[in-house]
């Protein structure tokens, strides 16, 4: 983990994103528990709000970053063959980038068309 300055930066990002992810998850779980989603219109309207939409988008970004640092650590710890390492790191990056793109692509139209 703590190799070279880039390792320290990754460590710091991992902690920063962890704090945001924890805060978001706990408050979102509490909000959904206290005010359950009643249906599609309610769901869309909630995510169309500028604050909830931005918070959710930031969650996706923080999650992708957090998962990248974590999976990178795991792969560097256990996989020592260079080609396999590169292959797995590329696969993780592709999965995360694709998922984030999907999530944001779903979120943006909700912000543009919903809430009316």
């Amino acid at each position: 983990m703590s190799r070279k300055p880039s390792g320290l930066r990754a460590w710091l990002w991992q902690r920063l994103t962890a704090v945001y992810l924890a805060l978001f998850l706990v408050t979102t779980a509490a909000a959904l528990w206290l005010h359950p989603v009643t249906g599609f219109a309610d769901w869309q309207a909630r995510l169309a709000g500028p604050w909830t939409g931005a918070a959710a988008g930031l969650f996706g970004l923080a999650l992708a970053l957090h998962a990248w640092v974590g999976m990178r650590d795991v792969i560097l710890d256990y996989v020592h063959r260079l080609w396999l390492r590169v292959l797995l790191l590329a696969a993780v990056a592709a999965v995360l980038a694709g998922s984030l793109f999907w999530m944001l692509a779903a979120l943006l139209p909700a912000g543009l068309t919903g809430g009316s």
């Binding site: 902690r15 599609f40 999907w102 779903a106």
Partner: protein
């Protein structure tokens, strides 16, 4: 020096007692990998739920599918263990609970509370 050489040659792995904080730590890593594998599925489900009333109903049906109890428990455990163990690590980073006894106690607490809470979540939702 001689002791170091001996320590390096020790091969009787089953004889080594695995400390509780080590269990918490390796489960935190395992849960993290499980959560990573869940990300594309959750992104797909999120997109489906916002695609329209039909998609929303299909996403809901997915969450209440035949395997949902076990899957929900597994996902809830992974998330709760990762969250609780993560908060424990953050506290340790800040110098809280570093000594052996508190570190062991909080490790036990995380290992036990995460599956119990997950059972509760799976039971309430399922």
């Amino acid at each position: 020096m001689e002791q170091d050489v001996h320590r390096l040659k020790y091969r009787e792995l089953p004889g080594i007692r695995f400390p509780v904080p080590a269990v918490t730590s390796i489960l935190h890593r395992l849960a993290g990998v499980v959560l990573f594998l869940a990300i594309p599925f959750l992104a797909w489900l999120f997109r489906l739920s916002l695609a329209g009333p039909d998609g929303f109903a299909r996403a809901q049906a997915w969450l209440q599918g035949p395997l949902h109890g076990l899957l929900l428990f597994a996902a809830a455990w992974a998330l709760l263990h990762h969250l609780l163990a993560g908060l424990r690590f953050l506290a340790i980073d800040l110098g809280l609970g570093v000594a052996r006894q508190p570190a062991r106690r909080t490790a036990w607490l995380v290992n036990v509370v995460a599956p119990l809470l997950a059972l509760l979540v799976a039971g309430v939702w399922g």
